[in-house]
Amino acid sequence: MLFQQLLNGLALGMAYALVAVGYSLVFGILRLVNFSHGAVYAFGAHAAAFLIGYSWGLLPAVLASVLLTGLLGVLIDRTSLRPLRKKHSPPIASLISTIGVSTILQNLLMIAMGSQKKSFPALFDFGMITIGTAKISWTQMIMFAISLVLLGVLSFIVHSTKIGLAMRGVEQNGKAASLMGIDNNFIVTFTFFLGGASAAIAGVLISGYYQVFYPTMGFMVGLKAFSAAVLGGIGALHGAVLGGLLIGVAESLAATWMGSAYRDSVAFLILILVLVVRPSGLFGRKGITKV
């Protein structure tokens, strides 16, 4: 049973990892924890389900949802965060702003699509694979693979392309970057677009796995993914994936040994421990001063 719980934990952890990557990306470039990421993730799932409901094919609906959610990320930046940057407000104002955006988005989803749990079509439901005494489903394996691909693509963009170079430049020193001819605003917009797009992919994959979606689905997952990102070192993409896996496994083991009621507390216990013992996380750089 322990092996099965381990596999369950890894599958669950991959779901957190997908969302955590978005947190790390935005923080890595903007030094801003984007708490609206959870709600954007829920929006992505809803957009895909909405389009599928109108008889769009699966792939077109997912691609359209990724595009729409990316645009939502851009909208959030333009309306709530750019005005704060213009005024040179303290970073905490942007943080609180994202919390507000999260609540607004969730409630808009509730009004638009109803607050009950609804059925999401199953993705990659090809059955179960048996490894020894444990079973894992094809969906979980494919989720694993897609997360690694997403991680690869995002890392490639950030480390090996010109625009990635510009993103890293903006993160190191905004003024100097603009002196070098980089359009800071465009870079920030692009970062939010990437964040939104990865949230949409996460939303579609996870909804396809559990086959339910509802407006508040981003709340708990968002918080735990944040813990995962912090554990891995917020700002480091590979750290986010590792952090997600660790939290998933920890949750699963806690459910096994202490009972399912303690699942949620484990993720937040880890968050507190990380912040007390090693705030930069596993792969993060030391010396983070901003909020």
């Binding site: 607050s115 009950q116 749990k117 609804k118 059925s119 086959q211 399912s260 949620d264």
Partner: protein
């Protein structure tokens, strides 16, 4: 200059506080004044109001909206025949968001409205019990069509339950498992709420007390989670052949899907909450073979039942559950009691409700001294994507 503005604002706040207190205290005094003795034309057209308090948004909105729809069907039926005491009946809906704090504040709003003569509410036992003391103190009859926690009705003599007590339901469930299914190893999975913990405990007791059954595992799960795999793995490791799932409708779909992926032969038994169309939508093929005990079944050939089902489907879009039928009956009970008493005097209404013998869609209902009703159950099973009665 600044100080005097501050002082002025503080004075205004304090005065507002007193105004609020004063406003709250007076309406309970008007309850015994004879507003219903229709001597003048004013009193005659003043509607009789009944409050419906349930979750209208959130995870359990399905239930709240279904209760409202069922209540509306009954109210329309009475209004078509002239209302009650010659006055039209109006429903006032409140959204308690399935939270105890919200319910308590809604209860305060309801009791401060002098035109409301009774409350249908709430949904979850814990929430109903949070609001009940307010209704009891203000002598407003509260009928819950849904609370099944054993301690609910004993909160006061104005608190009534038109639903089964969970012990009765579990006796039927244990009977299904022992006699109809013939399994011996039973697992219990329960949601971690006030109701879920108590009901889960009662399930454990009854299963352990049953001679042929062994309780192999009991798992608590959080209502907010969609991932039940750790709990399922533990139940599997313990060798459960049949699992009793104690939760709201949102539990059954994902649970069935995740469990059937691991063990396709597992049988699931639900509580009466499980009898909703949404379970089939969320669970698909995985919920085939799910059992549940219900006090009302939509294919009941009785003409009044069919009329109710038709009107309800027109309002709500899917077939009514036993909880909806009980909501329908509860409004009927309240209106019949008011009719019998001939006024909207709260104490008289309470006595009439307690003494009533109501032949409703969810069975012949009477209330005992504590305020509990007793029901007769039908067993239903999901087959080919629909609920059918289980004769076996």
């Amino acid at each position: 200059m600044k100080k005097s503005i501050g002082l002025l604002l503080a004075l205004t706040l304090i005065l507002a506080l007193f105004a609020g207190c004063g406003g709250g205290a007076s309406p309970s005094g008007t309850s015994s004044s004879p507003t219903a003795s229709a001597s003048g034309t004013d009193a005659a057209v003043k509607p009789v109001k009944i409050a419906v308090a349930a979750p209208m948004t959130g995870d359990n909105a399905e239930y709240g909206k279904s209760f409202l729809a069922a209540a509306e069907v009954m109210v329309e039926k009475w209004n078509a025949e002239g209302g009650v005491l010659g006055r039209p009946i109006e429903l006032v809906a409140y959204d308690d968001k399935n939270s105890g704090e919200e319910a308590a504040s809604i209860a305060q709003k309801i009791v401060s409205d002098p035109d409301i003569v009774g409350v249908l509410g709430h949904f979850a036992s814990g929430v109903s019990m949070a609001a009940a003391p307010v209704y009891q103190e203000n002598k407003l009859v509260q009928i819950s069509n849904c609370a099944s926690h054993p301690d609910y009705s004993s909160i006061g003599n104005y608190i009534f339950r038109n639903n089964t007590v969970i012990n009765e339901e579990f006796k039927v469930i244990v009977d299904i498992i022992a006699n109809d299914l013939g399994y011996t190893k039973v697992g219990v999975i329960a949601i971690k709420t006030d109701w879920g913990t108590t009901a889960g405990g009662i399930a454990d007791e009854l299963i352990s007390a049953s001679p042929n059954l062994t309780l192999v595992a009991h798992e608590d799960v959080m209502e907010t989670s969609d991932d039940y795999s750790p709990a399922i793995a533990k139940l599997e490791a313990a060798g459960a052949e049949v699992v009793v799932a104690v939760g709201m409708y949102g539990l059954y779909g994902p649970l069935a899907k995740q469990y059937k992926a691991v063990n396709p032969d597992i049988r699931l038994v639900g509580v009466s909450n499980a009898y909703t169309q949404q379970i089939i939508e969320l669970g698909g093929d995985a919920v085939e073979g799910l059992f549940a005990p219900v006090s009302f079944y939509a294919d009941n050939p009785d003409p009044e039942a069919q009329a109710f089902v038709a009107s309800y489907i027109g309002k709500f879009g899917s077939e009514p559950s036993s909880l909806a039928a009980q909501a329908y009956d509860s409004i009927g009970i309240l209106l019949t009691a008011i009719q019998q008493v001939g006024s909207t005097d709260k104490e008289a209404i309470r006595d009439a409700v307690n003494a009533i013998e109501y032949d409703g869609l969810s069975g012949f209902t009477t209330f005992d001294e504590i305020g509990d009703a007793s029901k007769i159950f039908t067993k239903v099973i999901i087959k080919d994507g629909a609920f059918i009665p289980y004769e076996g």
